[in-house]
C-alpha cells in the first residue's frame, strides 16, 4: 500500500469511527437528549421522578382560563391523544395562544395538575402573510373538512373525548 493510500485509509477510519461512536452514544442517551416529553408520555408515567421536567404540546382550544385580577391561569396542553392540566402564574411569551405549541417547565403535582414555573412558546416552521392566513382560515370555515389546519381540526375532534390515551395507574 502506498503511503498516500495508508493516509486515506487512516482519515477514512477516523471519520467513520467517530461517526459510529457518536451515533452509539447519542442512541444510548436518547431519552435525556429530549428537550421535553409529550403529554402521552406523562400519562404513561414516562417522566423523571422527583425533579422538574419539561412537557410539550399544543394549548387546547378554548381551555385557557384566568383568575380575575391576578396572573394565575389554567389551561390544557394536548398532544391530540392526551390532555394535561397546567397551572401557571407569570408573564407569557408573545406567541402563546390557543392552538399553538408550548413547552412548560415545572413538576407534576399529586392531583395530576402540572405546576409550571416557566412557559415557552414553540413556533412551527410555517411562515405566512396575515392576509394569506386570514383567507386560509376563511376557506376552512367554508369547508369544515379542510385539512389545512390540522391542529384545530384534531383538537376539535378531541372535545368529544380523547381516544386511546393510556391511564396513569402509578
Amino acid at each position: 500500500m502506498k503511503p498516500r493510500q495508508q493516509r486515506m485509509l487512516a482519515v477514512g477510519l477516523v471519520v467513520v469511527g467517530v461517526a459510529i461512536a457518536t451515533g452509539l452514544t447519542l442512541q444510548a442517551m436518547k431519552d435525556s437528549m429530549m428537550f421535553f416529553v409529550s403529554v402521552t408520555e406523562v400519562a404513561e408515567g414516562k417522566y423523571p421522578d422527583n425533579r422538574n421536567f419539561r412537557v410539550g404540546g399544543l394549548v387546547k382550544d378554548g381551555s385557557v382560563t384566568r383568575e380575575e385580577g391576578s396572573l394565575e391561569m389554567n389551561f390544557l396542553v394536548t398532544d391530540l391523544r392526551c390532555d394535561l392540566a397546567v397551572s401557571y402564574s407569570g408573564v407569557l411569551p408573545d406567541l402563546f395562544r390557543e392552538g399553538q405549541g408550548v413547552v412548560a417547565h415545572g413538576r407534576l403535582r399529586e392531583d395530576g395538575v402540572f405546576a409550571a414555573d416557566e412557559i415557552l412558546a414553540k413556533h412551527d416552521e410555517n411562515y405566512m402573510a396575515p392576509e394569506v392566513a386570514d383567507s386560509l382560515a376563511e376557506a376552512e370555515a367554508d369547508a369544515a373538512a379542510a385539512k389545512a389546519d390540522h391542529v384545530r381540526e384534531k383538537t376539535a375532534g378531541l372535545q368529544e373525548g380523547p381516544t386511546g390515551c393510556p391511564s396513569n395507574d402509578s
Binding site: 477516523v14 437528549m33 429530549m34 428537550f35 407569557l92 416557566e118 412551527d124 411562515y127 394569506v132
Partner: protein, 248 residues
Amino acid sequence: MWKFIHQLASPPHFYRIAQILIPWLAVPGLLLIGYGTYAGLFLAPMDYQQGDAFRIIYVHVPSAYLSMLAYMTMAVSAGIGLIWRIKLSHAVAAAAAPLGAWFTFLALATGSIWGKPMWGTWWEWGDPRLTSELIMLFLYFGYMALRGAIDDTSKADRASAVLALVGAVNVPIIHFSVEWWSSLHQGPTLIKEGGPAMDPGMLYPLLAMILGFTLVFGALLLRRVRAEVLFRERRTRWVKDLVLSGGN
C-alpha cells in the same frame, strides 16, 4: 482538468487566480445582500404569527447555514491536506476557521435576540439545536487555539486537521437535531417535503440573502487564503519577486 487542479495547488498560481476571482464573487454577493436586505425589511409581508420580528430570519438563517458550510469547507480541506499533503489545502482550512466562528456567533446571537420575545427565553440549556450549534463555536475556538499553540506550521496543519475532521460529526447533528429529538427550535422550513413552507414574498429575499452570504464568504475566504499563502511562502523566490516588483 488534472493539470489545472495541480497548477491551482501551486501557491503562485493560486495567488494570481484568486485575485481575479475575488471581485466576481464579492460584487454579485454584495448586490444580492443589498437586494435581500431591502426586500426583507420593506417588501416582504409580516408573518401572521410573529409580526415584524420574523425579519431577523434574513440574517439568522444565512449565518447558520454558512456556519455549517464553513465547517465543511474547513474539514474537507483539512482532510485533503492530510491525505495528499497539499499545503494550500491546509491554508484554506486555516483561513476558513475564523470566518466560520463569526457566522456561528452571528447565528447564535440573532437566534437569542429572536428567542426572547418569541419563545420567552434568551437561551435554553439542554435544547439539542442550541447546544450543538454552541459546540460548533467551541470546535472553531479549539481549532484556532490548537493552531496558535504550535509554532511549526506543518505540525500545526496536521494536528488541527485531525481536530477539524473529528468535529465534522457535529455538522449533521446540528442539521438533524430538530428531527431526531424534541427541541424548542422549529423544524426546517426550506428543505422539507412539499417545498418551502413560506410565502414567496418572504422566500425570495431569503434565498437572495443565502446566496449573497455564500458568495461573500467565498470572496472573504479567498482573500484570507491569499494572505495565509503569502505568509507561509514568505521565504520563497516568487514572494520576494512579487514584493520587489511592487505588485499585488
